[in-house]
Subunit: 200 residues, 4 copies
DNA sequence: CATGAATGAGATTTCATTCAT
DNA sequence: GATGAATGAAATCTCATTCAT
């Protein structure tokens, strides 16, 4: 009985993986149920035992294979550590994550135009990302490391540059990016002289 | 002779317009050739007199209705005017342009995932945009208004924030954005002289 | 389990039969997929479950309904029996076979002009036919019944006359044909003068 | 006025040539009017000034570009010359002609199955060819060079071998072919022993 | 659980022919 | 004569989904 369950879960996972791969590769509309089933090593009919429809498979896949979990993990940075360190780390890691999951990135891009569900997820994703990063920035403002500023917009700037850089194959250098950002964020005039903007 | 030609050109334009409208409305895959032809007041067959395929129509439409011309116009900013003024103006205008043509932005992004020709167009677009803006920044560096810096990355940051903001419906405030940017760019008081981390 | 399989095979056969009938009736281009499906009592879509395309159906049909098996059977003649008897029998039977399946002959010839796979099949068929007949002739040379000669060309002559005769509706008389052939092949010396069986 | 006429005739010829080439290349159904017009360097519309329809163009082309004239020329052999010489010459020349006009050969083959007009032409062609050759053979019978025999079937054998050889890329050697034929036709008795040209 | 045969609706594309210019 | 825009009909093929086995 438990074996059955395990097999079943396995199948489900296979299908989700296959769905991600094939959707990313051919786009949501371009991918046929047959393609996905084949990629998962099953027959089309079986897909309908695990998911109600192609649509349902897409939704579930987005929920279970989405960026959210990893994104949260990655942005749960130590709020006590200095900004430059944290931001460079984050920019690097975030960029790498996007590169690692190029599948999903492509899918989001191609799907955002067409599919309201994907669009929604993308928006939520961006919102959450900005929010988490902005929160961190706010704590650094409180410590006095950073000057008061519109942290959400600042977060947006950083993340946007990384995401779009990924998409257009013009990945910016993390250190440079952070350096540029920081010189608009650090709260002092003369402080700067104490910390000669290095570049990793 | 000329009348015929003119009418033909007209038809072609109609088809491109219809394509833009219908693609934007239903997505590339969701839009049928029949839909587009109907929107242009034409039989589906005629579409193939003017374009080789649905895909070809999409590519051509993006090329001819693309942002390039307007982008160039908009970035051909007065190189003598001060940065803050110019950048706010540009951020505002650029953002508005994208907003006005949100359809196109989405089609570009989604198409880029599928069609290499569209990806190429998009890449060229981004490159050109960054290049033009970076050039302007460089002249301001020369005048001493801005400190030496990696102008390309700076340009990318500004533009990315606007574009992605558009896509995710989180348009940043132009003034705020520029203010943030500038505080890393302005060749302010004494700091800069001490730390001239240039690249460009 | 087996029932399903059997039914599926049955369907496939139906489609092949229908293809042969309809192609023969209307020509390859004149026959629509719809026609063939209808003739098989099936919806057009199903055809693509069994065959990759109309063209693929044609190729497969020619391969599976082709002459090869029967040809081999027919040419596996008794190598011990005298030439005249064997050849007349063969010419008659071969001609009859072609006549019975005139449709197939025409499809082969016309398809060979278009599809390389069909051309290949046809070439193999011809080669095999010549080879088998030539082999038989060679054994008769060894027994001394026939004089040494280019057996392949001789085989080609006989078979060509029958095939082309079929295509152009000018089927030659088997006995006459063989008689003509033999009088160049028989190793005798003066026999010929004794039996001048003319016609015309 | 005469210039116009000349140009018009030129156009017509171009179209016929183009039709032959394109029909042969793609088959009658596979060739579109647009293809043919393009191959002739004109627009589809113009084709309808010179011919009533695609069908009409085909018929006219077959009539004006058919094998008949050349075939007749080639078979109008000197009836006084000895058989071996004439037949070898003829087999060689005929084979070469078919090779030179591979276009037409292919068209006849592919079209014979579908198009009754082409079928008809092919039949007529073969009939005429056999007739002409048979007539020659008959005169040689009268001179005593050849023994009495079914000259039509003999002619058919020779021509079939050449035609099918052409089609299946197994062109037989003209000399060998004629040698084989002759040894069934020559009215001699002991000749055979004098010239036992074997091959195999 | 799992298969894969079957369907029906619809999508893209082709094409011979006509005719205003 | 010559063009090429325009049409309408049809053809090939795809696909999500269902269901008997």
């Amino acid at each position: 009985m438990s074996v059955r369950r395990a097999q079943a879960r396995q199948r489900r996972e296979s299908l989700l993986d296959a769905a991600l791969a094939v959707f990313a590769d051919k786009g949501v509309d371009g991918a046929s149920v047959k393609d996905i089933a084949a990629a998962a090593g099953v027959t089309p009919g079986l897909l309908y035992h695990y998911f109600p429809s192609k649509e349902g498979l897409l939704v579930t896949m987005l929920a279970e294979r989405g960026f959210m979990p990893e994104l949260r993990e990655r942005l749960r940075v130590g709020h006590q550590r200095p900004a430059r360190e944290v931001l460079v780390e984050l920019a690097t890691g975030f960029g790498r994550m996007l590169a690692d999951r190029a599948d999903l990135v492509r899918l989001f891009l191609s799907g955002a135009a067409t599919d309201p569900r994907i669009r929604e997820q993308l928006t939520a994703l961006v919102a959450e990302g900005q929010h988490l990063l902005a929160d961190y920035l706010a704590t650094r403002v409180e410590t006095g490391e950073l000057r008061p500023h519109d942290t959400v917009t600042a977060a947006q700037m950083l993340l946007s540059a990384i995401v779009l850089g990924q998409v257009t194959d013009r990945v910016p250098d993390a250190a440079v990016l952070v350096e540029l950002i920081l010189h608009g964020l650090i709260a002092s005039t003369s402080t700067t002289s104490q910390s000669p903007p290095a570049r990793n």
